[in-house]
Subunit: 372 residues, 2 copies
């Protein structure tokens, strides 16, 4: 299912190939996010034409809306959305943690209220496997208990224990009910910002045995230093021969940090979220099109980018679209940002083969400075 | 500039060809509307791939935002938006009438306040020609005084006189300042709902002499019967050998009514406006995707349509997109509705050549019933 084609000589970085039911995925890979199915503002052919082979969608959102009755009657998420590449689905652990109210962690699962209509729901590790079976996820994630970086050590221990217990139940139920050739399952490492707990969580989750391993509970409010410290500590503890996934990360800079720690997979709403606010990536950092200084600017979003939008539209025009609240503005910036992430990852992968990852990183960070 | 290729044997309908600076346009034609430049939710290539050769944009909106300084520096609307087909621009008369506050009709033009920021502006017939010169419109419209169907006869007379006086000034200024090979200019017939005034307006505007003639001040709140009555009375009064344009119309049914009265050109925001609300055209009338009954519906928007969206997405999925407030929902429905209008017009045009316009009309109206 996963082979490493080349290891970076200067770091933990690796270039590999992931074989999934809907085709091969070259790693490291950034997965754009389609919370409700589609990557926001995109039609599926636009994702495919960029060469993107895997995207992420959210079980929690799809479970609440349209609901699993619709999902099953319409033949799963691939048929429903028309995207025929791979889909990884989050388990909902993080969404319940961040979106729901009145959340109660119980022994056998999580009780919560929908952020849409306040209705009461209960999700167990087993439910979450079944939800992802209905969705038809190529990679499903186990239900975990995500925690905030400001909780106590003891609370972090308790959440870790819950996460491990649920992971074991998830794997067991997965083996009983899922066609393991079609759908893979990843475990999630928790442990908050405590290194000994990260190590303990890794040992426990790895001993259960999954098709891949994710680092959860990072990029949830901790400082950048803590993020880097925990990431660089945890990632190398994970099995060499399995794909490693850093959940909810990140920015272009983060891709470099993740890859050099040995991460193979990333996802984040960041590129499309900032795009809808008029912000785009360029090789010289992020720029916001609403800024007055782009009023007469005839340059493309990023003069060094070869995406369709950069070949066809000026900053001045896109600024106008945002000012006039035209949907096509968000289409253009979202497309560019997702393309930008794809291209950086392609360059990172190539640099691993060429033994010049460190050079690329230095070169990229030299010019990539965010606008103040 | 305009040739009639075939006249309908059963009505005033005609099929023709309009030669403009950005290419030939086959008539009758429906022009989708891009108020601020783009047809809402579209990128220009999507308009082109449908075979649409002319669209409409609004001088009033573009004058206020991004402003003519931006328009000129960016090389006109074609360069700005990337649409290289023909663009007809409205003069702003109707927008000032419907959107602005504190509007004052003065002898030499209109004073009004921007609906965006309340700033004070003055547009004269000459200004409006200059604005459309900066935009680079293939067809520019003269400034007119649009009136509501509930005004008195005397007020309608006054508005007509203003419209005629401004039309003469517009034409004069056009001849002095515009490259008449590149940019054409149409006059607008007013006269409210009074037939004698419609006749008088037609005579006066036609005697000034324009490249084409529009019927303005219809579809602005009058009853459907009055609309049809005034339309069928006025359209045949217009010169046979010039293109006739019915402004701000309309629905699929209206296209039949207009064509049989001898109209060659139409525009309306209706198809894209209702699309953004989840309503689409089908051969069996309009349907709204938010309706519960489409929850599990695996059919395309219109099972008889061959547009990209109907070939790829189900009603159930599109309903989900609207429920989840996903931008791609409006993309899909807008695309379908504009395509639908294009296809109806193509069929109408063909029916004129085939001498079966009446049959097509009857056949269409037999199944096209709006959902209650």
């Amino acid at each position: 299912m996963f082979i490493i084609e080349k290891k970076d000589s200067s770091s933990h970085g690796r270039a590999g190939k992931l074989s999934l039911y809907h085709g091969e995925v070259l790693t490291p890979v950034f997965m754009p996010v389609g919370t409700n199915g589609p990557v926001k503002s995109f039609l599926p052919y636009e994702i495919k034409e960029m060469g993107i082979k895997i995207m992420l969608s959210n079980s929690y959102h799809l479970y609440l809306r349209p609901g699993m009755d619709v999902m099953e009657k319409l033949g799963g998420l691939h048929n429903f959305t028309g995207f025929d590449g791979n889909i990884l689905t989050d388990s909902g652990g993080f969404q319940i943690f961040s979106l729901s109210s009145l959340t109660k962690i119980k022994k056998d699962g999580i009780e919560f209220r929908s952020h849409i209509d306040g209705s009461k729901h209960f999700l167990s590790p087993e439910n979450v496997v079944s939800v992802q079976k209905s969705i038809g996820s190529d990679i499903m994630m186990v239900l975990d208990q995500c925690t905030s970086p400001d909780i106590s050590y003891n609370d972090a221990v308790k959440a870790l224990e819950t996460t491990t217990r649920w992971a074991a139940k998830s794997r067991e139920f997965y083996k009983q009910t899922i066609d393991t050739e079609k759908q893979k399952q990843f475990g999630i490492i928790q442990g908050n910002i405590f290194k000994d707990l990260r190590k303990k969580s890794t040992e426990e989750i790895v001993s259960i045995g999954f098709d891949g391993y994710a680092i959860g509970g990072l990029s949830v409010g901790e400082t950048k230093d803590v993020f880097k410290d925990i990431l660089s500590y945890t990632a190398p503890l994970l099995p060499e021969d399995k794909p490693r996934y850093l959940m909810g990360v990140g920015t272009p800079e983060d891709l470099f940090t993740g890859v050099e720690s040995g991460i193979d997979m990333f996802d984040c709403v960041f590129p499309t979220r900032i795009a809808r606010n008029g912000t785009v990536f360029t090789n010289h950092g992020r720029i916001n099109l609403k800024n007055e200084k782009f009023k007469y600017d005839n340059l493309p979003l990023d003069p060094e980018c070869d995406c369709y939008m950069c070949k066809n539209f000026s900053r001045s025009y896109i600024r106008h679209l945002f000012k006039a609240k035209e949907i096509s503005g968000a289409r253009i910036t979202s497309y560019h940002n997702v393309y930008y992430m794809k291209k950086i990852m392609d360059r990172i992968r190539l640099s691993i083969f060429n033994n010049d990852f460190q050079y690329l990183k230095k070169d990229f960070l030299k010019t990539y400075k965010d606008e103040n």
